[in-house]
C-alpha cells in the first residue's frame, strides 16, 4: 500500500481545520494549514510516483464498498496510472503555486479563512476526481469541484452578480451531469460495473458484445457531462461569468484544473471512445466549434479577465479537437501547457488588477510596462507561450493537436490555424492595451509583493520550457504513439499564423491605436454580434429560463395546484368547514377530552369492523 488516500485527505484536513476553527485562527496559522496541506499533498504525490515508477500498469488501492445493491457494487477505490500521474502533478503543483500566490492576493480581503477552506476543499475533490478508479467516484469529485466552483465564484456574496454567476455555473453543470448520470446507468446496465478496469477490459474484448449504437450513446452522454464541466458549446456560458470569483480561483479552477476535468474524463474513457468513430467525430466538431466561436468573442472584449476566460474556452476547444482526432495524449499535453500559461495569464492579470486596485477594464490601463515590470515580463512569457511561438510550451502541444487534426481532416487543421492566429491576436491585444501606450487610469500602480511574484516566476519558467516535458511520449503506453506525420510545412504555417496575429495586434494597438476602432466601425454589425457574445445568454433566457419560470408560476402553481386540484378539494372543503365548526368544539385544550376522542374513534372503527364482520 502506498497510501494514495493521503493525497486527497491532506487538503481535506486543511479544509476541516480552516473551515471549523479558521475564524479564530491568526492568518499565519490559516496559511500554514491551507498551503501546508496542499504542499504536503504535492510532495506525497511525488513520493508515490517515484516509488511506483515506471507505472506501466495502473496501480489501484481498494478501501471499502461504497454502494452495494443488487448487482450494483461500487467501491471506494483510488488508482494511479500515467494519465492520473500527469493530472496529479498538474493539480497539486499548480495548486500549490496558486495557493501561495493567494496569500498575497487575498491578504486584504474579508473571509480570508473561508477562501482557503474552499480552496482546500476544491483540491480534495479535484484529487478524488483524478484518482478515482471508477466512474461513480469520479462523479463524486466531479460534483464536488462543481460545488467549490459555486462557492468560490460567489465568494464575494454581497455582489448579486457574483452569486448569480455561481448559481448559473452550478445549474449549467447540473445539465451536464444529467448526461453523465445517464451514461453511468447505461454503463452499469451493459457492463455490470462502473470500475474502469472492468469496463475497459470488457470493452477491449470485442466491444463487450455491445451494439455500436449503445457505445456511441454512452460516449455521447459522457460528452454531455464533459461539455458542461469543460465549458464547451453549447454549455460554455457559465465560464465567462465565473470570472466574478477572485482571480486565484479563476486561475486554479476556471483555467488550470477543474475545467479540464471534461478533457480528462474523455481521455480516461478512451477505450470506449475508440469503439465509436461517430462519437469521436462529434467530440472533434464540438471542440472546433467552441474554439472558433469563443476566440472570435475574445477579439472584442475589454475586461481583461473576460478576454482570458474566452481564451480558456477556446483552448479547451482545442483540447477536445485533439481528443476527437484520437490524439488523446496531445489533448492532455495541452491540458498541461495550458495549465502553465493560462494560470500565469490569470495570476498576472490578477497582479495587474491588484496593482490598479481592482480595475479590470483594458481601456483604463496602458503604459504599465515600466510601472510593474515583473508582472509585464511574466505576462509576456505567458503570451508567447499561448501564441504558439516556438520553442515555448504552447507551441509544442498546439502543434501536436493541429498535426493530429490534419491527419483527421485537413480542413480542421486550417480552421485550427486561423483560430491560432486569432488567439495570438487577442492575447497580444490585451498585453499591448495593458502595458503599452500611456496610462489611462487614475490608480497608483505598484508592483505586487514577492509572495505573488515568486509563483509567477515559476509559472513563467514552466510556460517557456514546459513544452519539453514530453507528455505524449510518457502517455504513449496508454494512448499509442504519435498521430499524423510530422510535416515541417504545417508547423511553419501554424507558427506563421501566430506571428501574423501578434503583428496585427502590434499594428492596431501600438503603431496606430486608432486603427482598431476604425475596423470595428467598418464592420459594426458583426462587431456588435461578437461584442455581445452572439447573444447566446439572451437566447437561453428567452427560450429556456423564462418559459420555465413563468410556466411554473402561472400554469403549474396558480392554475393546476391552486385552481384545479384545490378547487376540487375545497368543494369538499366547504363541506369540511361546516364539519370544522363542529370540530372546533373538540379543541377544548383539555388533554382528557382529546384522549377521549382518540379512544372513541378507535372504538367506532372496531365497532364498524365487528358490525361488518357480524353481517357475514
Amino acid at each position: 500500500m502506498h497510501q494514495l488516500w493521503l493525497i486527497p485527505a491532506l487538503p481535506l484536513a486543511g479544509f476541516l481545520v480552516n473551515g471549523i476553527f479558521g475564524r479564530k485562527l491568526p492568518k499565519a496559522a490559516v496559511n500554514a494549514f491551507a498551503i501546508g496541506s496542499v504542499l504536503l499533498s504535492f510532495l506525497w504525490t511525488v513520493k508515490i510516483l517515484l516509488a511506483l515508477d515506471p507505472l506501466n500498469a495502473p496501480y489501484v488501492e481498494r478501501y471499502f464498498t461504497w454502494i452495494q445493491s443488487g448487482y450494483v457494487n461500487v467501491g471506494f477505490d483510488l488508482g494511479v496510472d500515467r494519465l492520473t500521474a500527469v493530472m496529479l502533478l498538474i493539480v497539486t503543483g499548480i495548486g500549490s503555486l496558486i495557493h501561495i500566490y493567494a496569500i498575497g492576493y487575498m491578504s486584504h480581503e474579508g473571509g480570508y479563512y473561508r477562501f482557503f477552506a474552499y480552496m482546500n476543499l476544491f483540491m480534495f475533490f479535484m484529487l478524488i476526481l483524478v484518482l478515482a478508479a471508477n466512474y461513480l467516484l469520479l462523479f463524486v469529485g466531479w460534483e464536488g469541484v462543481g460545488l467549490c466552483s459555486y462557492l468560490l465564484i460567489g465568494f464575494y456574496f454581497l455582489k448579486k452578480s457574483a452569486s448569480d454567476a455561481g448559481k448559473k455555473a452550478f445549474v449549467v453543470n447540473r445539465i451536464g451531469d444529467f448526461g453523465f448520470s445517464l451514461a453511468m446507468f447505461l454503463i452499469m446496465l451493459n457492463f455490470g460495473s462502473l470500475d474502469f478496469q472492468n469496463v475497459f477490459t470488457k470493452a477491449a474484448a470485442n466491444g463487450g458484445g455491445l451494439a455500436p449504437n449503445t457505445i456511441t450513446l454512452i460516449c455521447l452522454l459522457l460528452l454531455v457531462g464533459a461539455i458542461g464541466k469543460s465549458a464547451q458549446v453549447p454549455l460554455y456560458v457559465w465560464l465567462p461569468d465565473a470570472m466574478e470569483g477572485p482571480t486565484p480561483v479563476s486561475a486554479l479552477i476556471h483555467a488550470a484544473t477543474m475545467v479540464t476535468a471534461g478533457v480528462y474524463m474523455v481521455a480516461r474513457s478512451a477505450p470506449l471512445y475508440n469503439l465509436s468513430p461517430t462519437a469521436m467525430e462529434v467530440v472533434a466538431w464540438v471542440g472546433l466549434i467552441t474554439a472558433v466561436m469563443s476566440a472570435t468573442i475574445g477579439l472584442t472584449q475589454y475586461d481583461i479577465k473576460k478576454v482570458f476566460a474566452y481564451s480558456t474556452v477556446s483552448q479547451l476547444g482545442y483540447m477536445f479537437l485533439g481528443l476527437g482526432c484520437g490524439a488523446y495524449s496531445a489533448g492532455i499535453f495541452h491540458v498541461m501547457t495550458h495549465a502553465f500559461f493560462k494560470a500565469l495569464l490569470f495570476l498576472g492579470a490578477g497582479s495587474v488588477i491588484h496593482a490598479l486596485e481592482g480595475e479590470q477594464d483594458l481601456r483604463m490601463m496602458g503604459g504599465l510596462r515600466s510601472k510593474i515590470p515583473v508582472t509585464f515580463s511574466v505576462l509576456l512569457c505567458a503570451a508567447v507561450a499561448i501564441a504558439g511561438v516556438p520553442p515555448f510550451s504552447g507551441f509544442h502541444s498546439k502543434d501536436a493537436i493541429l498535426l493530429a487534426a490534419h491527419a483527421h481532416h485537413p480542413w480542421m487543421y486550417w480552421v485550427g490555424v486561423v483560430t491560432a492566429g486569432m488567439t495570438a491576436f487577442y492575447v497580444f491585444r490585451a498585453i499591448f492595451l495593458c502595458f503599452f501606450g500611456t496610462y489611462r487610469g487614475t490608480a497608483h500602480p505598484h508592483e505586487s509583493p514577492l509572495v505573488m511574484t515568486l509563483p509567477l516566476g515559476v509559472l513563467a519558467l514552466l510556460s517557456l520550457g514546459g513544452g519539453y516535458l514530453d507528455v505524449p511520449h510518457y502517455l504513449a503506453p496508454i494512448f499509442g504513439g504519435a498521430h499524423g506525420e510530422h510535416d515541417e510545412a504545417l508547423v511553419v504555417i501554424s507558427v506563421a499564423a501566430g506571428v501574423v496575429g501578434i503583428a496585427i495586434a502590434w499594428l492596431f494597438y501600438v503603431v496606430s491605436p486608432g486603427l482598431a476602432d476604425g475596423v470595428a466601425r467598418l464592420f459594426s454589425w458583426p462587431y456588435r454580434v461578437l461584442y455581445n457574445k452572439y447573444y447566446v445568454d439572451e437566447a437561453y433566457d428567452a427560450v429556456i429560463v423564462h418559459p420555465i419560470r413563468d410556466g411554473s408560476t402561472t400554469v403549474l402553481w396558480r392554475v393546476v395546484d391552486a385552481g384545479l386540484i384545490d378547487g376540487a378539494v375545497n368543494g369538499v372543503g366547504s363541506l369540511a368547514r361546516s364539519i370544522g365548526g363542529g370540530l372546533r368544539n373538540m379543541q377544548s385544550g383539555y388533554i382528557r377530552r382529546y384522549a377521549a376522542w382518540v379512544v372513541l374513534g378507535s372504538i367506532v372503527i372496531i365497532a364498524a369492523v365487528s358490525f361488518w364482520g357480524g353481517l357475514r
Binding site: S69, R174, G589, S602
Partner: protein, 512 residues
C-alpha cells in the same frame, strides 16, 4: 435483552404520556423536561433493536403475538424486518429531535402539545411494526389525530383550514384503504375458512388479477394521499406551512413515510400481480415523475420559505415512489434509504425555517436577504442542509438518488431520464432560495443584529449533519440491512408476475 423489546419501544412514549398527564400544566419547565426525557428514553430503548437485529435472517424478528379480538381474528402481532427497523429508528431519532427543538418555540398549552407528540410517536412506531393489518390500520388512523391537533392548535394563521384539509384528505384515503383491507379479510375467510388480518396469512391468498387491481387502487388512495403523490399533494403545502416547526419536521421526516412504507409492505407483497401489472406500474411511475418535476418547478416559484420546502418534499417523495415501482433491488432499497435521507435533509430544512421564524415571525422570502452576514453559522448549516437535499455526493441524498435512478433506469430508461431532470431543478430551487435569503447585502433593517444559532439549535443540527455524512460516505450498513427484505419483496413480485418490463431480474444479476 427482553423478549418484548418491540412492545417496550412501542409503549415507552405512551407510558411517558400517562405520567405527563399527572404533571400540573403550570409546571411548564417540568413538562418540557419530562417530554424530552421520554423522547430520549424512546430513542435509547430502540438502540438495542438495531444492535441485536440480525440482517442475515429472512422474515420478521422480535415477533410478539397475542390474541386481541379473537372473534374477529385480530391479533396484537408485531415484528420487524430490515425495512421496518430503519423506519423505527428514524421515528425515534426524529421524534427526539422534534420534541427537543420545541423547547423554546412552544409557549402555550405545553402539556397538550407534548402529549400529542408522544401519542404520535407510539402511533408511528405502531404503523411500522404491525404485522396484523387491522392493528396497522388502527395505528395509521391514530397518527392522524395528534397531527390534526398539532397543526390546528399550535399552527400558523390559517391553521384550521390546513388542519381540516389534512384530516379530511388522509381520512378519506384511510377509509378507502380499510375497504381494501376488509376485502382481503373476507376473501381469506372464503378461501381458507378463517378470519384473520395477519399479513403473512393474507399473503397466501390467491386473488384474480381483477380483484387485486381493485384492492390495489383502494390501497393506493390511502398510501398515495399520505406520501403524497401527485395529484393528491395539495394538503401538504398547507399542512406544512401552517404546522409548528416540530410538526413539520415529524410530518416530513416520518409521517409521509407511512405512505411509501405502505406501498412496500402491503401493496407489493399482498397484491403482486396488480403491483407488477404493466398499466398500474406505468401509471404509478408517471405520477411519480410528474411529482418529481412538478414539485421542483412549483418550488422554484414559491414566495414562502416553508412552502418551498414543502413542495420540495413532493419532488423528493416522487423519487421514493419511483424507486418502489421500479420493482427491483436498487429501486426499492434506494427508496427506503431515500426516505431516511429525506427525513434528515427536509427535517433540517424545516428546522432551519423554524430558526428564522422564531426570530422574525415571517416566512416571506423577500423579507430576508444577506442573512449569511448576520448569522454565519446559520448560513453554514443551511448550506449543508441544502447540499444534502440536492444530492451532493458524499452526503446522504446522493446515495439514495443514485440508487433509485439506477433502479429506475434498469426498469425503464425514459423514466430515469425524466427523473434525472428533477435533479437539475432540485439544485436550481434550493440555490435560488439560498441566494435570496442568505446572500447579498442585508437589505431589511429588521434582519440586522439577529442572533446566530444558540447551543440548543446546534444540538439539534449537529446529530443530523453527522448522520447525513455517515450515510453519504458509508451507506453499506443500510444496504446490508435492506438486502434480504427487499430481495424477498422483489422475488415475490416477480415470481407471481411475468408481465414486468425489461428489467433484468435482480437475483439473476446478483449471481453474475
Amino acid at each position: 435483552m427482553p423478549s418484548n423489546l418491540l412492545s417496550i419501544i412501542l409503549f415507552t412514549p405512551l407510558a411517558g404520556l400517562l405520567v405527563l398527564l399527572f404533571i400540573p400544566s403550570t409546571q411548564k419547565r417540568m413538562i418540557r423536561l419530562w417530554a424530552n426525557i421520554v423522547a430520549a428514553a424512546g430513542f435509547l430503548v430502540s438502540i438495542p433493536l438495531i444492535l441485536n437485529f440480525n440482517k442475515d435472517l429472512d422474515g420478521y424478528q422480535f415477533v410478539e403475538r397475542a390474541d386481541w379480538i379473537p372473534s374477529l381474528g385480530v391479533q396484537y402481532l408485531i415484528g420487524v424486518d430490515g425495512i421496518s427497523v430503519l423506519m423505527v429508528m428514524l421515528t425515534t431519532i426524529m421524534g427526539l429531535i422534534a420534541i427537543f427543538s420545541s423547547w423554546d418555540s412552544i409557549k402555550e398549552r405545553e402539556k397538550e402539545y407534548y402529549a400529542m407528540f408522544l401519542l404520535q410517536q407510539t402511533g408511528m412506531i405502531g404503523v411500522f411494526i404491525s404485522l396484523d393489518f387491522l392493528l396497522f390500520y388502527i395505528f395509521w388512523e391514530l397518527v392522524l389525530v395528534p397531527m390534526y391537533f398539532i397543526i390546528g392548535v399550535w399552527g400558523g394563521p390559517r391553521k384550521l383550514y390546513a388542519a381540516i384539509k389534512f384530516f379530511l384528505y388522509t381520512l378519506a384515503g384511510g377509509v378507502l384503504m380499510l375497504l381494501g383491507i376488509l376485502t382481503l379479510y373476507f376473501q381469506h375467510a372464503t378461501q381458507f375458512g378463517r378470519y384473520t388480518f395477519e399479513i403473512s396469512e393474507l399473503m397466501k391468498l390467491n386473488l384474480p388479477l381483477g380483484m387485486q387491481q381493485w384492492v390495489f387502487w383502494a390501497f393506493f388512495l390511502g398510501f398515495a394521499i399520505k406520501v403524497p403523490m401527485f395529484p393528491f399533494h395539495t394538503w401538504l403545502p398547507d399542512a406544512h406551512t401552517e404546522a409548528p416547526t416540530a410538526g413539520s419536521v415529524i410530518l416530513a421526516a416520518v409521517l409521509l413515510k407511512m405512505g411509501t412504507y405502505g406501498f412496500i409492505r402491503f401493496s407489493l407483497p399482498l397484491l403482486p400481480s396488480a403491483s407488477s401489472d404493466k398499466t398500474i406500474v406505468t401509471i404509478l411511475a408517471v405520477l411519480s415523475i410528474i411529482g418529481i418535476l412538478y414539485g421542483a418547478l412549483v418550488s422554484l416559484m414559491q414566495q414562502d420559505w416553508k412552502k418551498l420546502v414543502a413542495y420540495s418534499s413532493v419532488s423528493h417523495l416522487g423519487f421514493c415512489t419511483l424507486g418502489i415501482f421500479a420493482l427491483n433491488q436498487s429501486g426499492i432499497a434506494g427508496s427506503v434509504i431515500q426516505q431516511i435521507n429525506h427525513g434528515i435533509s427536509t427535517g433540517m430544512l424545516f428546522l432551519i425555517v423554524g430558526v428564522i421564524y422564531e426570530r422574525r415571525h415571517t416566512r416571506e422570502i423577500k423579507e430576508y436577504g444577506g442573512l449569511a452576514h448576520v448569522m454565519p453559522n446559520y448560513a453554514i448549516v443551511f448550506a449543508f442542509a441544502m447540499l444534502s437535499s440536492a444530492g451532493l455526493p458524499l452526503l446522504n441524498g446522493f446515495v439514495g438518488e443514485f440508487t433509485i435512478l439506477q433502479g429506475a433506469f434498469d426498469a425503464n430508461r425514459v423514466w430515469a431520464a425524466f427523473a434525472v431532470l428533477g435533479v437539475i431543478f432540485g439544485a436550481a430551487y434550493l440555490l435560488w432560495l439560498y441566494q435570496r435569503t442568505m446572500l447579498g447585502e442585508v437589505t431589511n433593517e429588521k434582519n440586522k443584529g439577529l442572533p446566530d444559532l444558540n447551543w440548543r439549535e446546534w444540538a439539534v443540527f449537529v446529530p443530523l449533519m453527522i448522520w447525513a455524512v455517515a450515510i453519504g460516505v458509508y451507506p453499506k450498513p443500510y444496504f446490508d440491512i435492506l438486502e434480504k427484505p427487499v430481495a424477498q419483496i422483489v422475488h415475490r413480485v416477480h415470481q407471481t408476475a411475468n408481465t414486468v418490463a425489461n428489467a433484468p431480474a435482480a437475483t439473476e444479476a446478483a449471481s453474475r
